[in-house]
Symmetry: C2
Subunit: 163 residues, 2 copies
């Protein structure tokens, strides 16, 4: 089967598994929204460990409807108190305008991709600010929840707050 | 500031950062769609490391429109060849019907939450099968891409394929 190697690695992981019986609470009270990018190590980059945080990842690290559901569930039922919205440098989603991204996908598949909305990001800082505001202004997110926007530098490992 | 402790931890992380100059390619050719749950360690559970895979996470681990964008970008531009769709045992999204989840959120906030669609999952195996099919049948996902559905047991650490 196509996944045999990964399932074998999973059995090795499970042989040594110590975390059974944990609940789904975010122990450090943190949720992070960030990109799917393979260069991002969400927990380690802020000094946390498995069990500590809810992690939401999608292309670009945007606050989508599902992210809002996640934040609402997190702050109401899972002890989330702080939310970080993190985009990153050299992000493919911010590398080109929508039409050019669609053209790249189309060229790679040999199929027209101009019908598919990809969500290219034209200004990272302004979308981060707008996404932070989306969470802060949500009617089911209490005022005391802290929400911060940041850019992660994939070459230095540093997070910079967006004013 | 509300994030000082996490930013201090990030500076420590960056002091020791060795991965500058990496590109966004998924080195192991893997993308994983899974839940935001704090008990899930996506890379380690299949023996991978930072740089190896694209990770998509949302409530429940569903194949949303943004996940489809991610998979299309992954398979066309970022060398993704295999996609794992993973839900998990004891998931809050599958713990109660939609109306009951909404009632729990409403009770926690003291505000009516029945207007917000949360996306409760009523049958995990059938939604996994449907989500796998969504990816396989997408016109911009080539036939040779392997897509598999799995349930992750948060108490044993084991992944089980969904037939």
């Amino acid at each position: 089967m196509a996944f045999d190697d990964l399932l074998a690695a999973n059995r090795t992981y499970a042989d040594d598994f110590q975390n059974g019986g944990f609940d789904g609470i975010a122990k450090a009270g943190v949720a992070m929204v960030t990109c799917m990018d393979s260069r991002i190590d969400p927990l380690k980059m802020i000094g946390l460990e498995p069990g500590d945080a809810k992690i939401l990842r999608n292309p670009g690290g945007r606050v989508t409807d599902q992210v809002l559901v996640a934040v609402v569930l997190g702050v109401t039922l899972l002890q989330v108190r702080r939310v970080l919205v993190i985009q990153h440098t050299r992000c493919a989603m911010a590398s080109a305008p929508e039409a050019e991204l669609q053209a790249r996908v189309g060229a790679a598949t040999g199929t027209d991709a101009s019908w598919m909305s990809l969500g290219a990001i034209t200004d990272q800082e302004s979308t981060i600010r707008a996404d932070v505001h989306k969470i802060e202004s949500h009617p089911l997110v209490p005022d005391e929840i802290e929400v911060g926007g940041f850019v992660y530098d994939v070459d230095s490992g540093l997070l910079t707050p967006v004013a």
